[in-house]
Amino acid sequence: MDTKVSLDSIYAPSEDVVVRLIEGELIIVPLVSGIGDLEDELFTLNETGKAIWDQLDGKKTLREVVKVLSAEYVDPAGEIETDVIGLVEELQRRRMIVGLVKSDE
């Protein structure tokens, strides 16, 4: 699977997972087989992951996601862009998100 991530890409949660918010914790529950490395895994995201996940709404490009998060969080070393790309690569590899059309298409 191509996991190359572009800041001009748009992503949304996959229909192959169910996302639940339970007592403040975001839980990603695989619906179909082949999500994650093992068959029976559930995933939760840390605070960084949750902040990014909430922005993956199928509308904003990753560049816009970085902009929104940069307005909200201190980012002296440009870590936000690295975090966004890192998480998106991970989620895409696990088939938990899907890439939609690029903004320039």
Binding site: V18, V19, R20, I22, E23, E25, I27, I28, V29, P30, L31, V32, S33, G36, E39, D40, E41, L42, F43, T44, L45, N46, E47, T48, G49, A51, I52, L69, Y73, V74, D75, E79, I80, D83, G86, L87, E90, L91, R94
Partner: protein, 400 residues
């Protein structure tokens, strides 16, 4: 944004630990989809005939069952156990299964596997339950299996179901119940079980048989009692690996035994995990169906049951004079299976002592060196000392 990668964390099997001191109101649900079964097992505590139309007519409708699942998910529930009877007898099983998975529940299915179809195996492969199916194996051949299931053709259906799951790589584990027709097959069973790809540990084996949960047949109860192992037999099984058993039990006793007092529910029944029967009555555990401890979900809600009804049930104190004289003061609680669920099954009460379990606990305690001959657990004042000495004696025995 100062947290480093990784951003995602795999949840451990103890999902509730994620929330530490603030767990969801409900973490796991047992949903008994039917009391009917296509087998007629000699030891079973719940099975009604598959064609019992009265029971079928009273069962939760598809929509009612879905509503319960949805409510459970809203309360934070992460997994549902579909049990029975045989859950696959429900014509709407697939609908309920897919619904449960689509709302983000893991599904644990207890089944005899006889009704697994190619379509169902494919469904489990495509939308995995996220928990291994648990399949009870009553025998390693048609003779032993059907002596227990009392259903012609059931062995062949059972093995075909298992083959379908293997072919489709559907994760499952097997377990058994030790009964007269299969007693000589245990080694063969364990050996076969070890060939199943997902059997990481030896299969579990039921050696305690509960009486009918609806208290519906004295005749069946008499028969179940005849099947029960004696305390000597049970202890022989439990302690077959003597050194390992002694070590495990010393650790167990140091943590978990002691007089329970008047409180009826030192267990976790009705907290975070509850059971719903086939007709929509919520129970604190799978066994306890005493009318005073069940909550009707058709006129109430899971939230109300968990926040109001079950906490009140758990406040109940024992009142049976015999219980207060013996069980409440007995330090063998923890070794003994006595609980409100067992009292309900055996006596129709919440706290009448069950002699069978008392005998087993006392036999085990004597074998472990916790009690002398003729001593009873409720007579021992220095029980903490007994537990400490039990371990010390054992070490000496091993050295000498």
């Amino acid at each position: 944004m100062k947290q480093p990668s990784p951003y995602s964390v795999r949840l451990e099997s103890d999902k509730a630990s994620l929330w530490k001191d603030n767990p969801p109101l409900l973490t796991a649900l047992d949903l008994e989809l039917t009391e009917r079964c296509n087998n007629n097992c000699i030891h079973c505590y719940i099975n009604l005939p598959a064609d019992d139309s009265n029971s079928a007519a009273r069962e939760l409708s598809t929509e009612q069952a879905k509503n319960i699942l949805a409510d459970a998910a809203l309360l934070g529930c992460l997994s549902v156990r579909f049990t029975g009877g045989e859950p696959l007898l429900r014509e709407d099983f697939e609908k309920l299964y897919v619904f449960a998975r689509r709302i983000g529940l893991r599904v644990l299915l207890f089944t005899n596997a006889t009704l697994i179809t190619p379509e169902l195996a494919t469904l489990f492969a495509e939308i995995p339950p996220l928990e291994p199916l648990e399949i009870t194996v009553y025998g390693m051949n048609q003779g032993s299996y059907e002596s227990i299931s009392r259903t012609a053709g059931s062995y062949e259906c059972h093995r075909r179901g298992i083959e379908l799951l293997l072919e489709n790589k559907v994760t499952f584990v097997v377990k058994t119940a030790l009964l007269p027709p299969n007693r000589k097959e245990m080694a063969e069973f364990r050996s076969w079980a070890s060939t199943i790809p997902w059997m990481d540990t030896p299969p579990s084996c039921t050696i305690f048989y509960d009486l009918r949960c609806r208290r519906d047949s004295k005749e069946k109860n008499r028969f179940i009692k005849q099947l029960r192992l004696t305390p000597v037999q049970i202890q022989a099984i439990l302690s077959r690996n003597k050194v390992e058993y002694q070590k495990e039990m010393e650790e167990f006793c140091s943590k978990f035994i002691g007089p329970p007092g008047e409180s009826l529910f030192p267990c976790g029944a009705g907290i975070n995990r509850i059971s719903v029967d086939a007709y929509g009555y919520c129970q604190p555990c799978t066994l306890l169906r005493h009318p005073e401890t069940v909550y009707d979900l058709k006129t109430g809600s899971l939230r109300d049951g968990l926040t109001n009804f079950f906490p009140e049930v758990r406040e109940r104190k024992a009142s049976d004079p015999d219980y207060l004289k013996r069980c409440a003061r007995c330090f063998l609680k923890g070794l003994c299976e006595q609980c409100p669920g067992k009292s309900w099954l055996e006596h129709g009460t919440l706290d009448t002592p069950v002699e069978y379990f008392c005998e087993i606990a006392h036999f085990s305690a004597r074998d472990l060196g916790l009690l002398g001959e003729g001593e009873m657990g409720w007579e021992v004042a220095d029980w903490r000392e007994r537990i400490r000495n039990c371990g010390a004696q054992d070490v000496l025995e091993l050295i000498l």
